[in-house]
Symmetry: C3
Subunit: 204 residues, 3 copies
């Protein structure tokens, strides 16, 4: 098990944790928890693999399922004890998961010889679409449609990654730079509440 | 046409019936009826086949489409005549469809050499995800997230099926035992209103 | 670039335009605009390709992505200037896109040797499911479930197309006839507000 594998499972657990929070907010039962946690954790990667016609990454690797269950159990114990989630910790963990997923998604898309633009799109999907599906299943307008920096980080991080590969940087550095960019942009966006609106709404 | 094929089409019709009821409750028109009925009936199996990269089961077998249309027509006539659905009959039919779908889904997943856990997951998806998609399209929080025994039956039934195959029972008995378990658990869950909550909510 | 390719990109742009309008109505930000526009424009075709196990049509053709971005930009500028959309123009453009998508979807399904019924279904999905996904992501009951002529046009157009191919008409005429039928049915349906209800609701 490499460092990357461990970080991957950490990302899965954090996203499963976030799915469980939503299931709790919607007063769902045990099955709702499992589905929402799973969809958040592996939904983005599943859509990426379906589009690439790649074997679904978790289908023959039960370790992902166990990481999800672990994330659920930790979240359930937490919620039943304190009912207060330390926002800062969760946001940091979520940002780490996001940065990892974007880099791994872009990397995988590349290995299937898609164009640069498509690799960035699939990397962004890997990071963002799990949370989007979670919100759809919970009958909410997806959060990422209203908190833009979330997705913008993925697009910028993916684009930088693609650029670094172009200038022929050895592939051992590019993923770490891209990871650092997504992570720092996300944390900065949270801290200073960045949003990018494209419509001029009436000020009310 | 074998006994299994007939039961399969019966399951499809029952689920199409249930999709039509939802379309009626949401005051949809003819196309809404067809889509909701189809999604309920073949949505779970379609997701299973997409994940397994198997040929979609209904794509080259129009009989599934005709079974759906038949289910819709029966439901429409029923609703326009009496406007009262006998709950018990529908629940029994739905439980039979569910039990069939879980067994067939687990079986199909196995024939694609996935791990035991994954086979149980795909069997559960085959049974539950059609209804989940129906509720998402009707803009509702999926019922199965709040009525847990529905999904738990599938998980338990799938697990028993996998276990029976392990102890090398001949494959002619295993599916029937698994079918009986899902069906009886589901009916018992309905009768005694079993739920498994994982969160301690404030009692109000 | 052939005439068909150009019309295809026009259809994509029009549907991206319609997704942007929904994102505006829901007060989404830049990322919401891009996702809703993309899903409306390429969602139906993506589902068709997934079901056919065909390579996803936009994955190796970035021109689709650029057409979507162009559609978004035009819509954003329009909305920020006038805030009034000329309904008639948009409906005409949408009807053209719809007619194109249905014909191309049916054609593609046929080239994968599916049955007639399935080809009609996949053609209808290509035309309608993008808008359905848009509405689901925007947390609305899909419009096409309540405005039936939209989908009925697709089914009729697809069926006529299949019939024309049967009577061995040269394939250069069939698509144009089918296109004209979908388009004129859609415009007539809009003009005279046709709907086909299957339920007898209480008149209130």
């Amino acid at each position: 098990m490499t460092f990357i594998d461990i970080m991957d499972l950490v990302g899965i657990m954090v996203f499963a944790f976030s799915g469980t929070l939503m299931a709790h907010a919607k007063k769902m039962d045990g099955f709702g928890v499992i589905v929402l946690a799973s969809v958040t954790a592996i939904g983005g990667g599943t859509i990426r693999d379906l589009l690439l016609d790649a074997p679904i990454f978790w289908l023959r690797e039960p370790s992902y399922i166990y990481a999800i269950l672990l994330g659920c159990i930790v979240a359930i114990i937490w919620l039943n004890r304190s009912k207060k989630i330390p926002d800062k910790t969760l946001e940091l963990a979520d940002a780490i998961g996001l940065a990892l997923f974007v880099v791994m998604g872009t990397q995988k898309a590349f290995s299937y010889q898609v164009s640069d633009v498509t690799a960035i799109i699939l990397g962004t999907m890997t990071g963002c679409f799990g949370g989007m599906l979670r919100d759809v299943l919970a009958n909410e307008v997806p959060m990422i449609f209203k908190r833009e920096m979330y997705a913008t980080c993925c697009i910028v991080g993916g684009a930088v990654y693609v650029l670094l590969l172009k200038v022929d940087l050895t592939e051992t550095i590019a993923p770490f730079v891209a990871f650092a960019i997504v992570l720092s942009l996300r944390l900065a966006g949270l801290k200073w509440k960045w949003t990018i609106h494209v419509f001029k709404y009436d000020q009310k």
